[in-house]
Each structure stands twice: as C-alpha cells, then as structure tokens.
Symmetry: C2
Subunit: 317 residues, 2 copies
C-alpha cells in the first residue's frame, strides 16, 4: 500500500482489541495518525508509552474530531453514550464502526445518533484472548480470523469496500451479513460457550464434597480448557449477555434440551447413543482445523509448565 488507507483513525477505547488494532495498523502503515481515547489517565499513559496512539485524548469527542475512521472499541453498554457524545464532530464522508460482539444492540444504540453523510458500518472481529487492557494487544490477533461487517440496508458500497480492505490489511477475512444473523451465529459460537464456561467454573467453586484446591489440582482433566474463556473481561461479557438476550436464550434452550437427552442416555446406559454422538463431534473439530481456525497440535500446543523437568513440547505434532 503506497499511501495510508486513512489519515486519522480514532480508537475509542484502548483495551485488547483497540491496542491490537493499533499494532496491526502500524504493521502495515494503514493510518497516518492514530488517536485514542481511554477513560482512565492510566490507560492513556500506557497507550502513549507503548506507542499505540500518537495522541491520547481525555474525551471521546476530542479523539473523534476530524477522524476519517472512528472505531468504537468499548463495551457494548457504553457505545450509545459515546455515539451521542461524538456525533456533533463526526466528519461527512467518514466511517464509523465498532468491534462489539453483539450487532443488533449497536444498530439500536448507536445508529440513531449517526449524522447524515457518515457511513455507519457495525463490525465484529471474531478474535480475542482472555487477556484485557492496552498491554495485552498484538499485531497478529486478527490474522486468519474472520471479521463480520453488518452494514444497514442502503449503506454506501464504496465505504463497505474501504472498511473491508482495512480489515483485510489487518490480517482478517471479511464476511458481510445482517446484524440479526450475526447475533444468532455468535450466540452459538461464542456467547453460549462463554456462558457455559462461566457456569461450570461457578458450579465447581460451590461444591461441598470437592474442594477448590482439588478442582485446581486436577483441572488438567478438561476443566482448565473452560477456565481460559471464563477469564475474559467481565464488563464486556456482562454487556454481551444483556444485549443479545433473545438469541442467547434461544441457543441455551437448545443446549439444555440436548443436555437433558444426553443425561438420560447416561442414566439408562445407552452405550450406542453416546458412542455415536462422540464420534460425530470429531468431525467438527477436524473442520475447524482444516479451516485454519485452530491448531492441530495436541493440547493446543501448550508448553509444559516452566521449571519442571522435560518442559519441551511434544515431539510428535
């Protein structure tokens, strides 16, 4: 790319996604200037120190002012207020987008404040880690992952193409769908998995006959896999569940129905039912690996714990 894709990009919120976007933009020279807003002085200082932003603003309005790309990287619950605050300074012809995990709520809360002539294109990069904050970001976060854009009907095609090219330059593959469909898909691929992970961690913490210490010691039997996503940012996830209620409850209903059937198969010792189901699950895992969305390395390629004997990686991948 000979010239930066954008003159001035405003990151409203500088956590895991905001900071990773900065790294990804710097990697490919996608923005001439990156300005950012964070609520706390501590985060603004960190953003400057880490070189994530050229300018750290105390208000969202100041950051958004004059930007040709504004990216809301804040929890869903506050995006409406931010939109209201920045609306007066949004430039005609600029793009306003976000990275939230629910899109219907963003359309509802943000859409009504978007001035005429500003291209509003909600977005969601399907990537992340369990870590939070400006120091947790890295340029490769979006590489090979999907970014979903949900432009409302009638959105300018050139603006959609420009934002798609931006995400592709950040390493992502881009898919366009409606906000409603996005929220349904993510309910099963992300929201319900997180809910279940939070739930089993909670269940394990409140048992009388098994201690917390035992749960931790013997977590390598499978439980530890769940705790990773249950360590994700609590505010972000609270807002996801409050704002995608309908789709989450629909998918949770299906999950519970299936779990009840599985429970019954165990109670009555239905060996064939269990076996068939377990065999089928392997096909989905293979599909995810073939699609480049996970590693085939055993145990996700985890290293043995540092300081213990034989800390090398498995020799057979």
């Amino acid at each position: 790319m000979s010239a930066p894709a954008f003159e001035r990009v405003a990151l409203i919120g500088i956590g895991l996604i905001g900071s990773s976007l900065s790294h990804a933009m710097r990697r490919r020279g996608l923005a001439r200037t990156i300005v950012g807003h964070a609520q706390t002085q501590k985060t603004r200082d960190a953003a400057l120190r880490l070189g994530l932003v050229d300018q750290a603003c105390a208000t969202a309005r100041e950051a958004a002012s004059g930007a040709d790309l504004v990216i809301l990287c804040a929890p869903i619950g506050v995006c409406g207020n931010i939109a209201e605050e920045i609306a007066p300074v949004l430039r005609r012809g600029s793009i306003l987008t976000d990275v939230g995990s629910v899109k219907g709520a963003i359309v509802r809360d943000v859409g009504r404040f978007v001035p005429e002539g500003v291209h509003f294109i909600p977005g969601h990069p399907i990537s992340g880690t369990e870590h939070s904050g400006p120091e947790s970001g890295f340029a490769e976060l979006f590489d090979g992952r999907w970014c979903v854009l949900t432009p409302p009907p009638g959105t300018d095609q050139a603006a959609i193409d420009r934002l798609s090219a931006f995400w592709q330059a950040c390493g992502s593959q881009v898919e366009i769908m409606t906000a409603e469909h996005h929220d349904l898909v993510l309910a099963i691929t992300s929201h319900v998995p997180h809910l279940i992970a939070y739930n089993i961690v909670n269940t394990a913490r409140h048992l009388e006959r098994v201690t917390d210490s035992e749960v931790i010691k013997f977590s390598a039997g499978g439980f530890r896999d769940f705790t990773r996503i249950a360590a994700s940012d609590p505010v972000m996830w609270r807002d996801v569940f409050l704002n995608n209620k309908e789709a989450v409850l629909e998918m949770l209903g299906r999950f519970s129905e299936d779990l009840t059937a599985l429970q019954r198969a165990i109670r009555f010792g239905e060996a064939d039912t269990l076996y068939k189901l377990f065999v089928e699950a392997r096909a989905t895992r293979r599909g995810i690996i073939q699609a480049g969305q996970d590693t085939a390395a055993p145990d996700f390629g985890r290293h043995a714990p540092a300081g213990l004997a034989g800390g090398s990686k498995p020799s057979k991948p």
Copy 2:
C-alpha cells in the same frame, strides 16, 4: 536411578497413555524390558516400529506373564475381561495397576480377579491430549500433572511407595485418595466438562438457522476451545460415562441448576449478578495457572495458522 525400577513392565493397551508411559520409562530407564499387548496387528507393528515395546504380544496373558509391573491402559469397559484373562499368570509380589478415568468401576471389575499376593493399586494420571493411538504418545505428557492412586484398604505400603516413585519418575506428582472420592472429583474436573463439550458440539451441528460452515468459520469466538476435548477417544469416553454414572449425574444436576439460575439472570437483565459471577471466575483461572496446571500465555499460546501472514506468536506473553 542406578538400576531400573522394574525388570519387566507389561503395557496392556498401547494408545496415547500406554505409548506415553513407554516414552517416559525410556527417558529415565525405569524398566529393563517393556512388553506390550494391543488388540490389532497394526498397533503391535506400530509399537515395535516406534520402539515403544521390546516385545509385542498378541494376547494380554502373554504380555503380563512374568511381569513385575502390569499396567492396564485400555478402555474401562474391557479391563474386567483383561483381568480375568491375565489373573493366572500374575506373579506373586508384582504390582497390577491401571490408568482409567474411573476408579470405582476398576475396583469392582478388576479387583475380584486379583490373586492373593499381587498388589492391586488402581491409578489415574490426570493428563492426556485429544489425540489417540500409539503414535500420539510423548515422554512429557505426565510432567507436572497429578497422578491419583486409589489403593484399597489394607494395600501393602511398600508397594504403594514403589508405584508412587514410579509415577514421580515419569514426571508426575502423586496423590492418594479413595476410589469413591476420585470419581466425584473427576466428575467435575473432567467428566462433566467433556460431556458439556460433546453436547455443545452436538447442539451446534443440528441448528436450522446457523449452518455447520458458519459454526466452523466463527468458532474462534470461544466454541473451538470446546471442540478440542470433544475430539477425544469416543470408546474411552463412552466407558467413562457408563461407569461413573452416579457422580456424573450428581455434578450434572448441580451444573444444570446453576445454568438455570444464570439463564434467569440473563432473562431479567440482572447486570450485577452476571458481573459478580464473571469476576469470580477469574480467580479460579489464576489458581490453575499458579498451580502450574495451565499456561498463562494468551489463547493457550496457540500459534497463528501456518501459511497466513504474521504467523508469529504474540510478542507479549
């Protein structure tokens, strides 16, 4: 260790655990001779080719004959039959153990065949990967993980100490408890997590409004973490659920009860309930990392998919 701990170790079953035990024994010279039995010629050939065993036997009886340590590394459902077959050739003073994920059923099915003078000490290394078969093993599998032994009351202490030392030399930490307590602990740290993982994969496969292809593409939102353990050996896991029914149903009951409460909190928009629960879950994750049972690296330290731009690991651990 100056001399091998055992003269002749018999591995009855040469899958992930059997083959990893062979590698771990070779690493530290724990056995003068390793013999093995596998049901299929293909696995016996592989075991010889990979150097896992010095001798591959067509029957379990032949392998167990003359061994001073016999380790059952087969699915729980067949261990009773194997015990009956090998009982006549078990040497006085030898140790008979296993690696099964349920211990009550092993005591029930294997215990009754153990001849007088043979030390029967059920065991369970809390480690594994989602891969199966003789080629999936590696020496470091047990490093830093826990191995639980459940010796029946009255078991010879010297034999328990000898088997404990063996597992420690294989890299494990050892804990002694009753079979009943083991089965309860593992129900929550391993069996129910696997069941839930199998269940959500199954739910996702049978939706009408979300396609399989969408589930796979957008799995990086959390779903893919569940598919790893849902790719584990189907026969082994069928046998786990059939043989630890009571504890699994108890823990599943608690899980479902908690999930219903969480579902209700979402339905009625109880923001504080959700937030508090999500914050608490982070403490369990921290405990697991501090105990050396998982990595603190984001995303389990997964690498970016091969062949895509920027496939390096996150620079900030």
